[in-house]
Symmetry: C2
Subunit: 366 residues, 2 copies
C-alpha cells in the first residue's frame, strides 16, 4: 500500500492524529490499526513502527521450554521509559511509546550517546532504547547507579520495518558508536542447565535491584520478559502514593509476581519480605495523606536538566496532554552552566480528589 | 400498587426470579427496581424489602459533623453474612442478601435464637441480623470468640416496610426474647467530646478484633459504617489466597482504609504494621500456590453442622448457583448426635485457572 493510501485509511478509521514539533509536521497512530501498532509514526515519507508490547511470562520453568526451542539471548530489562530514536532530515528525534516527539529526550539526546555518528552511517535505522535515571520527567522510580539520565539501546530496526535486528547484529553495529546498550548476558539454551543458569542470573540481578530480563530467541520474533522479585516491591513503594489513583490490579499483579518469582528462584522471603512489602504499601500512601493534610494536594516533584528553554515549555504542554488526571506545572527554572535546571510538579487529580472527599467525610457504597 | 401489579412490573423489567424452597414458591428481585432493592422477596402476600447497603465513611472527623446533626446510636458491626428472618405460614425462614432462602441458616435457626417465641408475638416483623462464626458456609473470615455459628440481630422492620425501628425500640422488643443482638455502645453526640469517645471505642474494638461500628442517627434514615484498622489486615489475610480471583480494588481499598483509620485513631503502626500487612498478602497467596502445586486446585474447606440431611443437598445447590467462579462439593457427611457434620470444599476456578496458566508458562500482555 502506498503511504498516502495508508494514511487515508488510518484517518478514516479515526486512529490518525496530526502533530507538530518545532515546525515539523507528523502523524501518530493513536490506536492499533492491523499490524500498525499505536505509537506508529509517519514523518514525511518515513514510517516508524510502534514498539510492540513484550509478552510477560510468570514462570521460567513453564514458559521457556514451552515457547523457546533453540538458543536465546538474555538482556537486561531496564526500568525507565521506551523511546525510538530516528533521524528526519537534519534532526534527530526521540519518539515516545505513544508516538509523540518527546521534547525532553530529544533535547537531551546529545548527552545520551553519539547519535550523530550513528545516523551518518545508518540514516534509515531506528534505535529503540530505554531512558533511565532520576532526572526524567515520566517515572517516579528509576534503577540504582544512574545519575541524571542515561539511554540504553535494546533494539535496532530499519525505518519502515517492524523486524528488529538479531541481538548479535545489533551488538556488532552499535558497539562501533558511543551509544550505550542494555547489558547482554549472552546466550542460553532451553535445557535444564540453561534454566538453572538463567535463575542464578536473576537471583543476582534481584540483589542488584535490576528490573528483570528480556529473553530474545534467535529464531522467531516473539520476545519474553521476566522480572525480578524485588522490583515489584520497589514499584509498589514508588507508586503507593497513588494507591487511590492507579487501578488496584497495578499493585495486586505485582504482589502476585513477587510471590511467584520468589518461589521460582528458590528465595526465602520470611518476615523481612513481608515487612518490606507492607512498608512499601504504607509509606507512599502515608506520605500522600500527610502531603494532602499540609498542602491540600498530592504531588510528585521531578528535577530535570534541559538544554533548550523553549523545549521546557513544549515538555510541559506534552505532559499536560498525556493524562487528564495529572496536571503538571513549572515550579522553578534556573540557568546552570549550559543547562536549564527544571523543577516540575505533577499534581495527581484523582488522588487529591479522593483524599479531599474521604477526609471531608463523604460516604461510599461499595 | 397492588402486589400482583407490582410483580407484573418487576417481571416485565426482567428483575423477578421465581424460586422454590421445600415446596414453598417465592419471588426474588435479582436487581434493584426503583426503591425495591435487589434481594427484595415476595412470599405469598408478604413483601420483604431488600436490606439496604450501608454508607461507608472513611473519616469520623469529616463524616460525623457533616452528616449527623443530633444524638446517634453506635452498634457493633459484626463480620459475617446478612440475613433477614421471617415467618411464612408455619415456617421460619432466613433470607440471604440476594433474596434466596438460605438452606443452612434456615436449618440452624432453632440453635441461633428463640425465633418461635418472637414470631408468636410479632408475626409481621422481619429480623435482620448477621450470622457469624467459623461454622458458616459463606465466609472464610469470622470474628474471634464465636464457636460454630451465632446470630446477632441488628434491625427490626415490619413486613412490607423498609423503615427499620429505632435502635431503642428494637432493644426494648428483642430483649424480651432469647435472640442475641449486636452489642450497642449507647448514645453519642456529634460534638468534639462525642467524637473523642467514639474514637476511644474504636481503638478498643480494634484491639478486640471487631470489624467496626454502625452509626445510627436517631433522626434520618441513613446509617453509616466505619471499620477498625486491623479488620482490613484480617480481611486481606483471609482473602489473599484469592489474590488472582478477586478484583484488585478489594485489597487496595482495604490498604487505604487501614492507613486512613490508623491515622484518624492516632495509632502508630510502625514496622510491626508493615510486617503484618505484608505477611497478610503473602501468606494466603503462598498457601494457594502450594496447594495448587500439590493438588492442582485452589480451594477452601468449610466445616458445618446441620440438622437436616436434605438441606445439605439444598445448600450445595444454592452455593453452586451463587457464583460461576466457585464450585462446591461435599467432602464428608457424617452423623454426630442430632446433627450432620458437613465438610464442603469450595474450588476457586479463576485462581486455579490462573495458576495453571501462569505456572504452565503462558504469556501475558499487560
Amino acid at each position: 500500500m502506498f503511504l498516502q493510501d495508508f494514511l487515508d485509511l488510518a484517518r478514516a478509521k479515526g486512529v490518525l492524529a496530526q502533530e507538530e514539533f518545532e515546525g515539523l509536521q507528523y502523524h501518530r497512530f493513536s490506536d492499533d490499526l492491523r499490524r500498525y501498532l499505536r505509537g506508529t509514526v509517519v514523518l514525511g515519507d518515513m514510517l516508524v513502527f510502534g514498539y510492540p508490547k513484550i509478552a510477560r511470562i510468570l514462570s521460567l520453568e513453564g514458559g521457556i521450554p514451552r515457547h523457546i526451542k533453540g538458543p536465546f539471548y538474555v538482556e537486561e530489562k531496564a526500568d525507565g521509559y521506551n523511546v525510538r530514536v530516528v533521524k528526519v532530515e537534519d534532526r534527530i528525534l526521540a519518539l515516545t511509546r505513544g508516538g509523540f516527539v518527546c521534547p525532553f529526550t530529544t533535547d537531551r539526546l546529545p548527552d545520551l550517546g553519539d547519535f550523530e555518528a550513528f545516523f551518518r552511517d545508518h540514516p534509515h535505522m531506528v534505535i529503540a532504547g530505554e531512558v533511565v535515571g532520576p532526572g526524567n520527567p515520566y517515572n517516579e522510580a528509576y534503577p540504582p547507579g544512574v545519575e541524571d539520565v542515561a539511554f540504553l539501546a535494546f533494539d535496532l530496526f530499519p525505518v519502515g520495518s517492524w523486524r528488529p535486528l538479531s541481538p548479535l547484529a545489533r551488538y556488532a553495529i552499535l558497539e562501533k558508536y558511543a551509544i550505550p546498550q542494555v547489558r547482554s548476558f549472552g546466550q542460553f539454551s532451553p535445557t535444564p542447565e540453561g534454566l538453572d543458569g538463567l535463575k542464578a542470573l536473576l537471583r543476582s540481578l534481584n540483589r542488584e535491584g535490576v528490573e528483570g530480563v528480556v529473553i530474545k530467541p534467535q529464531g522467531g520474533r516473539r520476545r519474553f520478559k521476566y522480572v525480578t522479585p524485588f522490583i515489584n516491591i520497589f514499584d509498589i513503594e514508588f507508586s503507593s502514593h497513588l494507591l487511590a489513583e492507579l487501578p488496584g490490579e497495578f499493585f495486586i499483579q505485582r504482589v502476585i509476581r513477587l510471590a511467584l518469582s520468589m518461589a521460582e528462584l528458590g528465595l526465602e522471603g520470611g518476615e523481612e519480605l513481608g515487612r518490606r512489602l507492607g512498608a512499601a504499601f504504607l509509606r507512599g500512601f502515608g506520605s500522600a495523606v500527610e502531603e494532602f493534610r499540609a498542602r491540600k494536594k498530592v504531588t510528585w516533584t521531578f528535577f530535570l536538566r534541559m538544554r533548550s528553554r523553549d523545549r521546557v515549555a513544549l515538555l510541559l504542554r506534552h505532559l499536560n496532554r498525556a493524562s487528564r488526571h495529572v496536571r503538571v506545572s513549572l515550579v522553578r527554572l534556573e540557568r546552570e552552566g549550559d543547562y536549564w535546571r527544571v523543577v516540575l510538579e505533577k499534581r495527581f487529580l484523582r488522588s487529591t480528589g479522593f483524599l479531599a472527599s474521604a477526609l471531608g467525610g463523604s460516604f461510599y457504597f461499595d
